[in-house]
C-alpha cells in the first residue's frame, strides 16, 4: 500500500511510563517507540489504558514515572501547549469540537499557533490581522477540500451528524500541520461507508503530508489494513508490539484480546 513512503527513525519514545489514578494503575512500565512516517495502532480491551497513553503523549496526564522523548529531547512529562507547538495534534474519543462555532472556525482554531498578528491590528481587523485571516483561511479551505466537507463549511458543528463531526475534528487537528497525529478511536460509531472514507483520509494524510499517525481503534479489520505496526495493551501493560501479522499470531494477544473480543 505504502508506495514510496519511507518509515524513518524514532521520533517519539516513551520510556517506562507509569500512571495511576487514586491508587489504580492505568499504565505500568510502558515503553513504546514511534517511528517517523509510520501508522502505529494501539489496541486493547476497554480500560486497557489506550486513551491514557495518548493523554500522556500530549501532556494532558502527567505520568508518575518514566520519560517522554520527542525529537531527541527527553522530559518527564509533556505539557499540552508544548506538545502543540512542537507538532503533536490529536482528536478525541468523545468528539471535542467547539460546539458553538462553525466548521470553518473550528478548523481555523487549529491554526491558532501559526497566527501572529498583534492585538491592535486585530481590534481593527486591518493590515496584518486581515492578511493573516485570509492567508490561513486559504490553508483551511485546502483542508476542507481535502476532507470533502465543502458543503458544510459554514454550518455550526453541533448540527452535524456524528460521522461528519469526526471528520471536522480530524480537519482541526490537520490545520496545525502536525508531525504526529494522535487519533483516539477515529471510527467509533461509524457505518462501513464512513469508516472507509475515514480510513482513506488517514492513509492520504500519512501519504501526502508524511504525518506520523498513532491511532486507537477497535475495529480489527481497519487496524490490520491501516497500520504499519500494532501495539497491544491490556490492563495498562504492553503485551504485544509488532507488524499486524506478528500481533495477529501472538498467543498472549490472542488470549487477552482477540480471543475475548470475538
Amino acid at each position: 500500500m505504502a508506495g514510496d513512503r519511507r518509515i524513518g527513525e524514532t521520533i517519539l519514545r516513551l520510556d517506562d511510563i507509569c500512571l495511576s489514578f487514586g491508587g489504580v494503575n492505568a499504565l505500568s512500565n510502558i515503553s513504546i517507540d514511534v517511528k517517523e512516517h509510520e501508522i502505529l495502532a494501539i489496541i486493547g480491551p476497554n480500560g486497557a489504558g489506550k486513551s491514557s497513553l495518548l493523554n500522556v503523549i500530549n501532556g494532558v496526564y502527567h505520568p508518575s514515572s518514566g520519560s517522554v522523548t520527542y525529537k531527541g529531547q527527553t522530559r518527564n512529562q509533556m505539557r499540552p501547549h508544548d506538545a502543540a507547538t512542537q507538532g503533536i495534534a490529536r482528536t478525541f474519543q468523545n468528539i471535542a469540537l467547539f460546539k458553538g462555532m462553525s466548521v470553518l472556525n473550528n478548523i481555523m482554531t487549529g491554526r491558532t499557533l501559526k497566527m501572529k498578528a498583534g492585538f491592535f491590528w486585530q481590534c481593527l481587523h486591518l493590515g496584518k490581522a486581515r492578511n493573516e485571516e485570509i492567508e490561513h483561511r486559504k490553508k483551511v479551505e485546502e483542508i476542507i477540500d481535502f476532507l470533502q466537507i465543502q458543503s458544510i463549511r459554514k454550518t455550526p458543528v453541533g448540527r452535524l451528524p456524528y460521522g461528519l463531526q469526526k471528520r471536522v475534528e480530524l480537519g482541526r487537528a490537520l490545520a496545525a500541520e502536525p508531525e504526529i497525529l494522535l487519533l483516539d478511536e477515529p471510527m467509533a460509531g461509524m457505518n462501513i461507508e464512513e469508516k472507509e472514507d475515514m480510513s482513506r483520509f488517514i492513509l492520504d494524510v500519512n501519504d501526502e503530508f508524511g504525518t506520523t499517525i498513532v491511532l486507537i481503534e477497535h475495529d480489527m479489520g481497519v487496524v490490520m489494513d491501516l497500520s504499519d505496526r500494532v501495539v497491544v495493551l491490556d490492563y495498562g501493560k504492553k503485551i504485544g508490539d509488532g507488524t499486524p501479522d506478528e500481533v495477529r499470531n501472538n498467543q498472549e494477544v490472542i488470549d487477552a484480546y482477540l480471543g475475548v473480543a470475538h
Binding site: 501547549h81 502543540a84 469540537l97 458553538g100 491558532t112 486585530q122 481593527l124 485571516e133 482541526r172 496545525a176
Partner: protein, 354 residues
C-alpha cells in the same frame, strides 16, 4: 423575505469574511446607524435622551464588555458593577489629580485601570470554574463597595462620600446637553461594537470561544488558557470600565458610593443573558430591554388610571420584573439574539419553512 441573496457571490476571502457579507444586512445596519445618528436626534425629547437613550447606550457598552467575558469566553462574572466603579473612580481621580488631561483620555485611563483590576481578579479563573468563579467575582464587588465608601482618598475626602462632577469638556466643547451627551455615548458605543466584532471574529475571539466550548481541547490545540481567559477579562473590563466612567460622568453627574453595587452587576448580566450570550447585537437589545422595562412598568399603573403609592409601585415593579425575566428565560433561554437569528433564517428561506 426581503433577503435576496441570489447573485451575491464572493470572489475573495475578504468579501466572504466581511462582518456583513449579505447586502441586505449592510443596508439594515446603515439604516440603524442613520436612525441612531440622524433620526433620533431630530425627534427625541429631552426626557427620552436622559431616561432612555443615554442609559441604553452606556449600558449597551457595559453589556458588550460583559458579553465578551461571559458569552464569548464562558467566564461568569458578577462583578460588573465593581469594574464600572473602578472605571468611574479612576477617571475621577485622574481628572482631579491631573487636571490638564483631556477628559476623554481620562476615561480611557479609567478603562485601563479597570483592565488592570480585571486581569488581577481574572487570575482565579485559571483555577476555578463556573459558579465558583461567579461567586469569587463577588469578592471584588463587595471589596470595591467597601473601598470606595470607606477609603477617603478615592473620593478625594468628600465628607459624604458622594461625588459631583462638572460636565465633560473636550477642547472647549462641553458635553452639557442631552443631545451632545447622547452623540458622545453613541459614537463610543459604535466604535467599541466594531472593535468587539473585529476581535471576536479573529484569532483571539476564536481562542475565547474555544476555551468556552471545550477548554481541554483548546489547550491541546495550543491555546494557552491563561492567555485566553486573562485577555477576555482584560478586554471585558476595559469596556466595562469605560462604561462606568461614562455612566458616572455623562449619565449620573453626581453619585453615591453605592451607585455601582451588586444590583448593577445583576442588571448588566440580565442584559447579556436576555439579549443573548455570544452576540454583539444581543447585548445591545438586552440593554434596551432591561432599561426600558422598569420605565414602562413604572408608567403602567398611572397610565391605566390606578392611584398607587410609590412604595407599592416599586414592589409591584420588581415583582413583575422578576416574573418577566423568568418568562423570557423560559420562552427563549438564548435570548433576543437567538430570536433574531431564527427570524433572519426564516426571512432568508421565505416562503419555505426550512
Amino acid at each position: 423575505m426581503f433577503y435576496r441573496e441570489t447573485g451575491q457571490f464572493k470572489t475573495s476571502y475578504q468579501a466572504d469574511q466581511a462582518i456583513f457579507p449579505i447586502r441586505q444586512d449592510r443596508i439594515f445596519i446603515l439604516i440603524w446607524l442613520l436612525i441612531g445618528f440622524a433620526v433620533i436626534p431630530l425627534v427625541a425629547s429631552e426626557y427620552a435622551f436622559r431616561a432612555i437613550l443615554i442609559p441604553v447606550t452606556i449600558m449597551g457598552l457595559a453589556a458588550l464588555g460583559l458579553n465578551i467575558l461571559v458569552g464569548y469566553c464562558g467566564q461568569v462574572s458578577l462583578g460588573t458593577g465593581a469594574f464600572m466603579a473602578v472605571g468611574a473612580y479612576a477617571a475621577y481621580n485622574f481628572m482631579i489629580r491631573v487636571p490638564e488631561l483631556n477628559p476623554l483620555f481620562c476615561f480611557v485611563l479609567g478603562g485601563l485601570t479597570a483592565t488592570g483590576v480585571g486581569i488581577l481578579f481574572g487570575i482565579p479563573s485559571l483555577r476555578i470554574k463556573g459558579f465558583y468563579l461567579a461567586v469569587a467575582t463577588l469578592a471584588l464587588q463587595f471589596f470595591t463597595d467597601w473601598a470606595f465608601s470607606r477609603i477617603g482618598w478615592f473620593t478625594n475626602y468628600t465628607p459624604s462620600g458622594s461625588i459631583a462632577v462638572q460636565p465633560v469638556e473636550v477642547f472647549g466643547f462641553a458635553f452639557n446637553t442631552p443631545l451632545r451627551k447622547y452623540f458622545l455615548c453613541l459614537t463610543i458605543l459604535s466604535i467599541f461594537a466594531l472593535v468587539a466584532k473585529n476581535i471576536v471574529r479573529g484569532r483571539i475571539g476564536r481562542a475565547w470561544m474555544a476555551t468556552r466550548d471545550m477548554d481541554v481541547a483548546a489547550e491541546i490545540i495550543g491555546i494557552r488558557p491563561m492567555y485566553a481567559k486573562l485577555s477576555a477579562f482584560a478586554v471585558s473590563s476595559f469596556f466595562i470600565g469605560i462604561a462606568g466612567a461614562l455612566w458616572a460622568y455623562i449619565y449620573l453627574g453626581s453619585w453615591e458610593p453605592l451607585a455601582f453595587d451588586i444590583n448593577v452587576s445583576f442588571s448588566v448580566l440580565f442584559m447579556v443573558i436576555i439579549g443573548g450570550l455570544g452576540s454583539i447585537v444581543g447585548g445591545l437589545m438586552g440593554a434596551a430591554f432591561i432599561t426600558l422595562l422598569p420605565l414602562m412598568l413604572n408608567q403602567l399603573p398611572s397610565a391605566m388610571g390606578f392611584e398607587i403609592s410609590t412604595a407599592l409601585i416599586k414592589h409591584l415593579e420588581i415583582m413583575i420584573f422578576g416574573a418577566l425575566i423568568i418568562f423570557f428565560l423560559a420562552v427563549e433561554p438564548l435570548g433576543f439574539a437567538r430570536l433574531w437569528q431564527i427570524a433572519k433564517e426564516k426571512l432568508r428561506l421565505w416562503p419555505f419553512p426550512h
